[in-house]
């Protein structure tokens, strides 16, 4: 390890988070290099010096009066207080919408099943064509029993192909 590598590693070494390999190499170098050993000492003392000097330099820094007004205006104009009126009507409306959605969904689910059951009772299911796959057969059967329309067979075959792709 040379002096530059050592001094790059010094902050992390001071933190105690260096890897064991780097620490070993660094300590070997520090044992023989006075300049780097001094740099390590400086690293530890620099914090308090830097902090106090910078505090002293910036202690007198104050926001200009014009800037204060501008900043307060920026904050005030961006702030939107919570509106209790909006909250008051929003909750019941959301609940009503949710109920409506639930009712619609249950009707959509229940209606085809009921239609299928009624149709099956009136018309027995026709035999499926033998040259189709199991999936196509099943879909074709379902279409015929539910829609009572032979022309839907082509649509079903195409759909089954797409599904199989």
């Amino acid at each position: 390890m040379n002096c530059k590598d050592c001094q790059i590693e010094i902050p992390e070494y001071a933190d105690g988070t260096t890897s064991p390999e780097v620490r070993l190499a660094l300590e070997s170098h520090l044992a023989v290099c006075d300049a780097c050993a001094t740099a390590l000492t400086r690293e530890r003392s620099a914090v308090s010096k830097f902090h106090s000097l910078l505090d002293q330099a910036l202690d007198q820094q104050r926001l200009a009066p014009a800037a204060r007004g501008r900043i307060a205006t920026a904050g005030g104009s961006a702030f939107r207080p919570a509106n209790p009126c909006r909250c008051a009507w929003f909750a019941p409306l959301a609940a009503a919408a949710a109920l409506l959605l639930l009712a619609s969904a249950s009707m959509i689910v229940a209606y085809p099943a009921r239609q299928t059951a009624m149709t099956t009772m009136r018309h027995p299911a026709p035999a499926a064509p033998s040259n189709m796959s199991d999936l196509t057969n099943a879909l074709c059967l379902l279409a015929k029993t539910s829609c009572l329309c032979n022309s839907s067979e082509n649509l079903v075959v195409n759909t089954a192909r797409r599904v199989s792709w």
């Binding site: 530059k4 992390e12 400086r42 104050r62 900043i71």
Partner: protein, 181 residues
């Protein structure tokens, strides 16, 4: 306690509360911004953007940390984003005129001059080097934490710190340099 009362007034949309908030914490934030920014103009803009964002996200502030800590976090992000999006001025052009300090005149300088010398030198660093240096030696953060905050690797942080210290040793008279023996 004063913070709580102030926040309550802000939430109640008291028109004077924002002025009081700026009075309460504005100067401290401005000083923090000055540590990170190249000049006072950028620092003022950063503080203004901080207050703007604070106003937008006030509902998220639960009081787990102090108001200043919360605002400092916003300020840090503002400064980081400014660094990415704006072309920073050349710092040497915008620094106020001060008496030149040569390395061999260092012995006769008092601590106030040392402080100003350090502050000037800090402003001459690149934003990346300055932020790394301030986070390390002012905020006293470990390298790993600095890397997280700056969104870079620990290797990058160590390299920036090394080069920043090197530059400081050139810019600040040796007798006043906190990184000199």
């Amino acid at each position: 306690m004063r913070e709580d009362a102030l926040l309550l007034r802000i939430r109640d949309n008291d028109p004077i509360a924002w002025n009081d908030l700026v009075e309460f914490v504005g100067d401290r934030l401005f000083q923090a911004a000055c540590r990170f920014c190249a000049n006072e103009h950028d620092a003022e803009n950063a503080v203004q953007e901080t207050f703007y964002r604070f106003a937008k996200t006030l509902s998220q502030f639960r009081g787990d940390s102090s108001l200043y800590t919360w605002l400092y976090g916003i300020l840090f992000n503002v400064v980081r984003q400014q660094r990415r999006t704006t072309s920073w001025l050349r710092f040497t052009d915008t620094l106020p005129e001060r008496e030149a300090t040569s390395p061999d005149a260092g012995a006769s300088l008092d601590s106030e001059t040392a402080a100003l010398s350090l502050s000037d030198a800090l402003q001459k660093l690149t934003p990346e080097h300055r932020m790394a240096l301030v986070l390390r030696y002012y905020d006293q953060l470990p390298v790993l934490e600095i890397a997280k905050r700056l969104g870079c690797s620990t290797g990058t942080v160590k390299s920036r710190l090394f080069h920043a210290r090197q530059q400081m040793s050139v810019l600040v008279p040796q007798s006043l340099n906190p990184f000199a023996s």
